[in-house]
């Protein structure tokens, strides 16, 4: 099975002049990308990064991000892409938790100053900056002029390739460790069912530091397709104009991506006739929204509903588009090489239509959580991953998701651990305790709500609570709504009954 670096080397050899990435006005060929990745690998090695060292990436989607990521893979380093929307506290926490040897960052990032100061004080942390030479010799060189050979195949396919953090650092950081084999296997299976090829042109708004965006990136580079980067969905018309201009064959989104597109644009006004496949993952999409999306897309376009989890590299199942209307609400059948079992609490297998916990096994299942054997053992046993999601399989073998995974709030493309927000609110003078829960939202699926209990006599406004959250947390974690209560509902054992607070 070819590893990601081998995929890129092959494409650079077979179609070096073909466009790999469109990043703003720049069009980068496979040869350029391959050369840049090789240059980064050489630079990392020269600076002292060794096989197995962690390299944190704090870069938005762009040519430098992709070159840095493949450069890490090629020199045997473990890439740790960080959420660029996060605040300095979380970023520093992840860098420390991963014990990163190097950080590659964009000097314009709001947390750059703080991270630069930390790196200078640390003395051991190697700093590389994209676009500018902030510290002497730090500039990441991605405009490769030297001819490099093929990117190296990793010494072991089972060595860690990436760590993806799925929670903040106020609680227990969860760093999902993906091996080269995990990535290669999941990419191969996705390429297979989407029938991706070198003539495909994918427009993506998904951040690469999340699992979905990460899979979109690798699957398209693996086949020599073209990826067109759109920075965000703030201006839906611009995304649609890009789809038209590039004659895009593919598009990918989470449910809120489609809700946003449909809310502010008439898709019928745009020539989307080249669109061949649209992928949806990142949480359940209401069947009514799927139907509206289908109505707005050309009839020739296939709509793929998919289910996955970072812990399974990305993808677990997909619904073949021809069954979309026959199996509404289903997330489909397992990918090639993936097994799914729905189990009862005693671990026995559920019957058809019986709701239980979803377990998966296959080459995409992560190696574990970084530096946390206890947490790893709580979800991985005998090669099976406990997804924490509940669901059932129908008589035809189609999977349906029936319940939410723990307390995680799914807002747009983001995941919010309530504890991360609760910890920040609890630090405010006058706050007794707080519970953070999801409430339904037409566009984002869910948004964050905080229920706050104040100490007797204390005066704290909702604005003060939001301000503190803004200072400490990524914008998507700031509660949209703050309510005050005299106490939080609890079970007899003292556990907060979040479901009672989650009502709108």
């Amino acid at each position: 099975m070819p590893m990601l670096t081998e995929n890129l080397s092959r494409q650079a050899t077979e179609r070096g002049d073909a466009v790999a990435l469109v990043d703003g006005a720049q069009r980068h060929s496979y040869a350029d990308l391959h050369g840049a990745a090789a240059a980064v690998a050489a630079q990392l090695g020269a600076k002292g990064v060794r096989v197995g060292d962690r390299v944190a990436l704090l870069l938005d989607n762009g040519f430098d991000y992709v070159a840095a990521l493949y450069g890490c893979l090629a020199c045997g380093a473990v890439a740790v892409p960080l959420n660029t929307a996060a605040r300095a506290g979380d970023l520093g926490g992840w860098i420390a938790h991963a014990d990163a040897r190097a950080v590659v960052l964009a000097p314009g990032h709001p947390a750059a100053g703080e991270l630069l100061a930390t790196a200078r004080g640390d003395g051991r942390l190697i700093l590389m900056t994209s676009g500018a030479d902030v510290v002497e010799g730090s500039r990441l060189c991605t405009d490769a002029r030297t001819a490099y050979g093929a990117l190296a195949r990793p010494a072991s396919a089972d060595a860690p390739a990436m760590i993806l953090y799925t929670s903040g650092t106020t609680g227990r950081p969860k760093g999902v460790v993906l091996t080269h084999r995990n990535l290669a296997a999941n990419v191969a299976a996705i390429v297979d069912y989407l029938a991706l090829g070198p003539t495909d042109r994918m427009v993506t708004v998904l951040p690469f530091f999340y699992s979905f965006g990460n899979s979109v990136l690798h699957t398209h580079l693996a086949v020599g397709a073209m990826l067109v980067l759109e920075p965000n969905l703030v201006y839906p018309q611009k995304v649609l104009e890009t789809l038209v201009r590039e004659r895009a064959t593919g598009f990918a989104g989470v449910p809120s991506t489609f809700a946003l597109l449909l809310s502010r644009a008439r898709l019928a006004d745009y020539d989307l006739s080249a669109l061949r496949y649209v992928q949806q993952a990142g949480g359940g999409m209401p069947p009514a929204l799927i139907e509206r999306t289908l109505q707005a897309l050309p009839a020739s376009c296939s709509f793929f509903v998919m289910y996955g989890q970072t812990e399974a590299t990305a993808r677990i199942s997909y619904l073949p588009p021809e069954h979309l209307r026959a199996k509404p609400g289903s997330v489909g059948i397992p990918l090639r090489g993936v097994e799914i079992e729905v189990r009862r609490e005693d671990r026995s297998r559920c019957a058809a239509l019986e709701v239980g916990t979803i377990f998966v096994r296959g080459e995409g299942v992560m190696a574990g959580y970084w530096n946390d054997p206890g947490l790893t053992a709580s979800v991985l046993a005998g090669g099976w991953l406990n997804t924490g999601d509940s669901g059932y399989v129908d008589a035809d073998g189609y999977l349906y998701i029936a319940g939410r995974r723990s307390d995680i709030i799914k807002t747009g493309a983001h995941r919010v651990q309530p504890q991360d927000v609760e910890a920040v609110i609890a630090e405010i003078e006058g706050v007794e305790e707080a519970a953070v829960v999801p409430v339904d939202d037409d566009i984002l699926g869910e948004v964050v709500k905080a229920v706050v209990v104040l100490r007797p006599g204390a005066v704290v406004t909702d604005l003060e609570i939001k301000a503190r959250c803004r200072a400490r947390l990524a914008a998507y974690k700031i509660p949209k709504r703050v309510e005050f209560a005299s106490s939080l509902p609890r079970t007899s054992t003292g556990k907060v009954q979040r479901h009672l607070l989650a009502r709108p």
Partner: protein, 101 residues
């Protein structure tokens, strides 16, 4: 016609106030320049923009058409004020034209 008049300074102040109350929560508004990018400063994201547009439409009684959702019109306090002012002026002259018929 008794339309409420808004000069550019009023409009900018009102937009700034809305952003402070709803996205900055009182903290950073004085440091946000009129010409600064709201995206670049991480003040708004995609749904934040929808909320801003809804606010402008309801507060000023204007309609912002989908093709007008561009960075040139909406990515800074100054450009938002210009957009809204242009629409209010257009509505005024439209009203006079109607009255003349």
């Amino acid at each position: 016609m008794n339309a409420v008049r808004h000069d550019d300074t009023d409009l900018r102040a009102e937009v700034r106030n809305y952003l402070r109350e709803n996205f900055l929560f009182g903290e950073e508004a004085p440091r946000l320049g009129d010409e600064e990018s709201l995206i670049g400063r991480h003040v708004l994201d995609s749904t934040g923009f929808l909320e801003l547009v809804a606010f402008l439409e309801s507060r000023f009684g204007v309609r912002i058409e989908d093709p007008e959702m561009t960075p040139e019109n909406l990515d800074a306090i100054a450009s938002i004020a210009t957009l809204v002012q242009g629409k209010l002026a257009g509505a005024d002259s439209g009203g006079r034209a109607d009255a003349a018929e």
